[in-house]
């Protein structure tokens, strides 16, 4: 079922938590709401669940306006960050709860609990209680409780954030697979950009209650709408260099460097003075031997990741991070030569932070 937020605003007292949000989520889509804590993503999810009331605006599930529909009639399923398993019930009773309150026949409940438990590999835990389970097992039980019936929408509020790193990556894959198989519209809240990039069909990035960009992971990565999005997505983060456009020499000039600008970029930059250049670490090439026309830089520190090396550089007065091959070696403070791929660089309005489009 598709989900629509139309001009939705939420105030807590005088604080605006969600600010005129417009979002249309297609049927069967997995959309991730991404943003730092306090950006309003969880509140957005809770408004859709009916656990918070929208101060103004309309929320639709399918064609039904659900603002005034109580939570229990919205026909949604939710996975909470702390799982919210019922401590006094066995795992089987926990999973069966949504069916029990709907007065489904006992034998049918048992059958469906068994089927769901089998598919999530928790059949052996059915007679235990939540406190006897590990974090990963509880996570699966919470999922089982959500998928035992066929709701219109799944809501997931940072479901993986309480798991350790290895398990998180594993569950991430399983969730993606599960959503693909079920084909049910899913809205997933996280502050982890890697989760957002790997899981989502489309990512909605929020900040301070405002939607920043709503697009596919690749578009968000390659064409961020503004500096905030560019910085939030990608690890290590995009580098930003403040500088001026020198139209005469067709170059970007900052304290310590000057980069020739490609022909295609000139028109949009021509009438601006102050701009911010953004370049991802993989678009900066580093060489420990001198190369003609490359920029001079000194190494601040290097981090070997095994499969690649992050090189922290000082170019004049600017600090940037570059991605180098695993075998790249350089002493601290040693001289290196770098090339910034101006064709792949992005430009932002220094005042508003908005991306400048060609």
């Amino acid at each position: 079922m598709d989900v629509k937020f139309q001009n939705v605003t939420k105030l807590f007292g005088r604080t605006t938590v969600v600010d005129h949000l417009d979002l249309v989520i297609e049927d069967g889509e997995l959309v991730v709401l991404l943003g730092p804590s306090g950006c309003g993503k969880t509140t957005t999810l809770r408004m859709l669940a009916g656990l918070e009331e929208a101060t103004s605006g309309d929320i639709f599930i399918g064609d039904e306006r659900v603002n005034d529909v109580p939570t229990r009639y919205r026909d949604i399923a939710m996975v909470f960050q702390n799982y919210a398993l019922y401590p006094h019930m066995t795992i089987a009773e926990n999973i069966a709860y949504p069916l029990k309150v709907r007065k489904v026949a006992k034998d049918q409940i048992d059958q469906r609990v068994k089927r769901v438990a089998d598919s999530l590999e928790i059949a052996a835990l059915l007679s235990r209680r939540p406190r006897e389970l590990s974090g990963g097992e509880r996570q699966r039980v919470a999922l089982a409780r959500a998928i035992i019936r066929e709701p219109r929408v799944y809501l997931m509020d940072e479901p993986l954030s309480n798991l350790d790193a290895k398990l998180r990556v594993q569950m991430r894959g399983e969730l993606k697979r599960l959503q693909h198989e079920l084909g049910t519209t899913t809205i997933y809240v996280t502050h982890d950009q890697a989760e957002a990039m790997t899981l989502a069909h489309r990512v909605a990035i929020m900040r301070g209650g405002k939607l920043q960009q709503f697009d596919t992971p690749m578009n968000i990565y390659n064409q961020p709408a503004n500096r905030f999005v560019a910085e939030f997505v990608g690890s290590p983060s995009m580098n930003f260099i403040e500088g001026d456009v020198d139209v005469a020499s067709r170059s970007f000039v900052s304290d310590g460097l000057s980069i020739a600008l490609p022909e295609t970029r000139l028109p949009m930059l021509a009438d601006l003075q102050r701009v911010t250049l953004g370049v991802r670490p993989e678009n900066i090439e580093v060489s420990s031997t001198e190369r003609a026309g490359w920029l001079n830089a000194s190494v601040y520190v290097t981090e070997q990741m095994g499969n690649e090396t992050f090189v922290f550089l000082t170019i004049g007065g600017d600090k940037v991070i570059a991605r180098a091959p695993a075998d790249f070696r350089a002493e601290m403070e040693s001289r290196v030569w770098v090339q910034i791929d101006a064709g792949k660089a992005l430009f932002f309005d220094s005042d508003s932070g908005e991306a400048l489009r060609i």
Binding site: Y97, P98, R102
Partner: protein, 300 residues
Amino acid sequence: MSEDVARNAAKLRRIDRERSRTTGRARLAIWSRYVLLIVAVLAAITPVYWMVTISLKSEIDQFAVPPRWIQFAPTLAHYYDSFLTRSFGQYLVTSITVAALSTICAVTIGTLAAYGLARFKLRANLDQRLSMWILSTRMFPPIVTAVPLFLMMRDVQLLNTLTSLVIVYTALNLPFVVWMMRGFFRELPRELEEAAMVDGDSRLGALVRVILPLVTPGLAATAVFCLIVSWNEFLLAVVLTQTDAAMTLPVGIAGRVTQYEIKWGVMSAAGVVAMIPIMVFAMAVQRYLVRGLSLGAVKG
């Protein structure tokens, strides 16, 4: 070399002596603790023992000097007297009825109120203020309310009825129930009810099926407390009831102190019987009681 060995041995012996002295001190501490506990238990239990024996003693034995702690000819005459020839049986029934009904009312109403106060934020901090206001009704001595309550009950013609006592005891216990239960509810994560509601349950259903089972120990502790308060209450009962039909046990027992005589035997027999229901109930819910009173002390 051998000097070193000797010196070491001497040092070890000294440490040993030191240690035995400290264990001696520790043992003394333990013993004195036991002595104190025994004194405390004796102080608590002696009056009860005295009451039980008096209820079983003939009048001559009751006043024997020196007191007869153990050797006396036991008799059930006082029990016969109080419960079969006098109206203590009726008082007992009244007490049980009033205590049970008022406890049920107070716990039901108070739990619902506490849930609301624990979970919903009202405008202008009204939820906090309401809670404080409810608590403040416990801040004056009950005797202050005796006369107004008497006048009110007279006006609605409820004097000398069980109804008046049930109403008054419910009101008396409500603030306590609200504050205890509010604390227990606040300990539970909101997500539990939220999950239940998302799963398709109503808020009341979530309260009954998810939240209440988790606060059962607290609920039991609260109920026991209400029961004890209602059971022991004397002051308001003596003001509001004067007839045999509506008198509770405490009032009935005190009524045996007359200007001509004090019926120690009858009073003790009634006292023993009055003690039993509470003891039985407390033992039955003891399992919950300990957990309930310490609920919230440690997050579980």
